[in-house]
């Protein structure tokens, strides 16, 4: 990614190590979520981001804290990458009062104004409007912010995406549509749902559209940074297609997957295309880190996540009286 002519700076190294750490954080977080589900401690379901960590991290590292993101049902990675605290996230996942949404939102609706997180959304493509609107505000208020709309490739089926891209381009809004193509929409291969050419779907509305290897965090980051800078400097909306894979089922309960995808396919991605493994290997190769150091990162985060889980498990539920609060502001 860094071209041969550019010498590596210490900021760059710090960024790479931070991105590595953030990816591990997400993976450890999600590991605990799976545990909570398996141990029947979590109400409902959750959609794990494992395998896709490089996208959230690569993109969010290109953003300021005040910049906006919108997220999806598979949203834990985006939240964490944008700076959310695992304590409050786990508390939310368990429906506890200490959660980001006082337990009212759950896994699919974590939102956090402090980190510019406009909220995860359980309607496929449900936040395209919200992200575009946040970019509209940024533009009108002149506060220099940028909005990123994360969505799975399943959202390409929803017409509202095209309405929003059209509006964003007409109004020259600082919004980046980040499509995470993990090949499946629930239990159906994306090629069954997606005719034509994905990038062209954005280009047709005048957006700059690029695709990137979603398993390579440095590639994601570099491209995202360019599009973010472009948006911030008035260049308008763009579309970033990230090719990726989810290792687990559509949700934690989706265990038997052979009817829609093969174990070999899963194995290949996990062993050959893993964003953390590959980034780790590269860091070691480049001598920016050694294996024990990376191992420590993993251990630290594992124990951090376990503590966060403990906090959440011990935290109290909201009071009954709260059910009717927050309906109206």
């Amino acid at each position: 990614m860094t071209t041969a002519t550019q010498p590596t700076t210490s900021q760059e190294v710090a960024l790479w190590l931070r991105m590595y750490r953030q990816m591990v954080a997400i993976r450890e977080f999600e590991g605990q979520v799976n545990e909570l589900y398996t141990r029947a401690l979590m109400p409902g379901l959750a959609h794990l981001y494992i395998g896709e960590e490089a996208i959230a991290v690569g993109v969010c590292e290109a953003l300021e804290r005040t910049d906006y993101i919108t997220s999806t049902h598979r949203g834990h990675g985006h939240c964490l990458a944008k700076g959310a605290s695992p304590d409050q996230m786990f508390a939310e996942l368990l429906g506890k009062k200490a959660g980001y949404c006082k337990g009212k939102g759950g896994s699919m609706h974590i939102a956090d104004p402090a980190t510019g997180n406009l909220g995860a959304n359980a309607i496929v493509c449900g936040s395209a409007g919200i992200a575009t609107g946040a970019a509209f505000s940024a533009n009108r208020l002149g506060n220099g912010r940028v909005a990123v709309c994360f969505f799975g490739e399943g959202a390409l089926g929803q017409g509202v995406l095209y309405e929003e891209m059209n509006l964003a381009q007409l109004f020259k809004l600082p919004v980046i549509y980040v499509c995470e193509n993990n090949l499946y929409t629930e239990y159906t291969h994306y090629s069954e749902c997606t005719a034509g050419d994905v990038l062209m779907r954005a280009q047709a509305f005048g957006l700059e559209a690029v695709s990137v290897d979603g398993q390579d965090v440095r590639a994601v980051h570099q491209t995202a940074q360019r599009l973010v800078d472009r948006a911030r400097s008035g260049g308008g909306p763009s579309f970033l297609l990230c090719n990726t894979y989810r290792y687990h089922g559509h949700h934690v309960g989706d265990i038997n997957r052979e009817y829609y995808r093969s174990k070999q396919e899963e194995h290949m991605w996990k062993t050959e295309r893993d964003p953390i493994l590959n980034m780790g290997k590269w860091l070691i190769e480049q001598k920016h880190a050694d294996a024990p150091a990376l191992g420590r990162v993993q251990q630290e985060l594992e124990s951090e996540m376990k503590k966060a889980v403990e906090f959440a498990v011990a935290a109290p539920y909201p009071n009954a009286s709260e059910v009717e609060e927050d309906v109206y502001a």
Binding site: I123, T132, G133
Partner: protein, 335 residues
């Protein structure tokens, strides 16, 4: 615009449309985050010419023509409202709210609650309702009942120019998504409107006419129909009270119930389809709240359970008229 003075404020005769525009213009002057977007709202000032002049005063940045993308720009408004703007979206015909249901119901209405009170959505959707314009089934519906059903939304149905101005200003200042339904047939109706600032709180009904024998509880265009019927009823010695809830949610239940407790008879009038609509809720609230005072079942009168037909003689049958309300009231009073 003839002028008088009322409580220190100059009062003019304005049309309903002028009252709406005045409310918007005043709010836009007061608060630079208020903006308007919709199809043909800028140069054209909407097909109903309600917004004419706003573009000239506030410019293209605050009065925005959009593509024909009701879901798209409504969704954009949700996000804009969350992040510092107070957008007013214009949905030309109320029939097109079909296209905005996801943005309004799954997004706007729920953001505040789902985020545990952290994000707010101070936006207004202005749209229209009302039949008898010979516009056929896809341009004549009054679908406000759907939004009334949804927690997190507020729903306003003004019936006079005075109310329209005061309620719209309150809606714009509200911290929640508010849907504001304007009857297309009322845009040219005139009424007294004070100059300058005043608001009408959402959730307060208004007695449009005091009476003793029967309560006509009417929304939007049906308020005029009720007043007309009340005048006819007076001639045969029946004194009708006309109560306008003004906002469907929050709903001023007490005012409705108190009126019926006094009169012991009620007709509910609303231009939406009668079945599973606004008339059902209001009738049910009253049947419960005034249970021991009612002398007869609450009568509901809404739009007939048919898609609105184009043919004028058919279309005219589908909505309550002064005559049909008069007859129903007379019958209910046992005359």
């Amino acid at each position: 615009m003839p002028e008088t003075v009322m409580g220190g404020q100059k009062v003019r005769e304005l049309t309903f449309a002028q009252a709406i525009k005045e409310a918007l213009a005043e709010e836009m002057r007061r608060d630079s985050t208020v903006c308007i977007m919709g199809e043909d709202v800028a140069e054209a000032g909407t097909p109903f010419k309600v917004l004419s002049g706003l573009l000239e005063e506030f410019g293209k940045d605050r009065v925005l023509d959009t593509p024909i993308s009701e879901a798209g720009f409504t969704g954009l408004a949700v996000g804009a409202a969350m992040t510092g703007m107070r957008p007013v979206v214009d949905i030309m015909f109320g029939d097109f709210i079909t296209l905005t249901m996801d943005q309004m119901v799954n997004q706007a209405a729920k953001v505040h609650y789902m985020s545990g009170g952290k994000w707010k959505v101070p936006m207004v959707m202005r749209t229209t309702m009302g039949a008898t314009r010979r516009s056929a089934a896809q341009h004549s519906q009054s679908l406000h009942a759907w939004y009334c059903h949804v927690p997190g939304l507020k729903v306003v149905l003004p019936s006079t120019p005075y109310d329209a101005k005061g309620l719209l200003k309150a809606a714009i200042r509200d911290e929640n998504p508010v849907v504001f339904f304007e009857d297309k047939m009322m845009y040219k109706m005139k009424g007294s409107v004070p100059e300058g600032d005043y608001t009408i709180p959402l959730g307060v009904a208004d007695i449009k006419r005091v009476g003793e024998d029967i309560s006509l509880i009417a929304t939007s265009s049906m308020v005029q129909v009720a007043l007309g019927a009340a005048a006819m009823l007076e001639e045969i010695g029946i004194s009708a009270e006309v109560v306008d809830p003004r906002t469907m949610w929050p709903l001023d239940e007490k005012a409705l119930i108190d009126s019926v407790k006094k009169t012991s008879r009620a007709i509910i009038l609303d231009e939406g389809y009668e079945r599973y609509g606004v008339t059902a809720e209001l009738a049910s609230v009253i049947a419960t709240g005034a249970f021991y005072d009612l002398d007869a079942p609450v009568k509901r009168m809404g739009a007939m359970h048919v898609p609105i037909p184009f043919s004028p003689p058919l279309e005219d049958l589908t909505v309550p008229t002064e005559q049909t309300v008069f007859e129903a009231a007379r019958k209910l009073c046992g005359r």
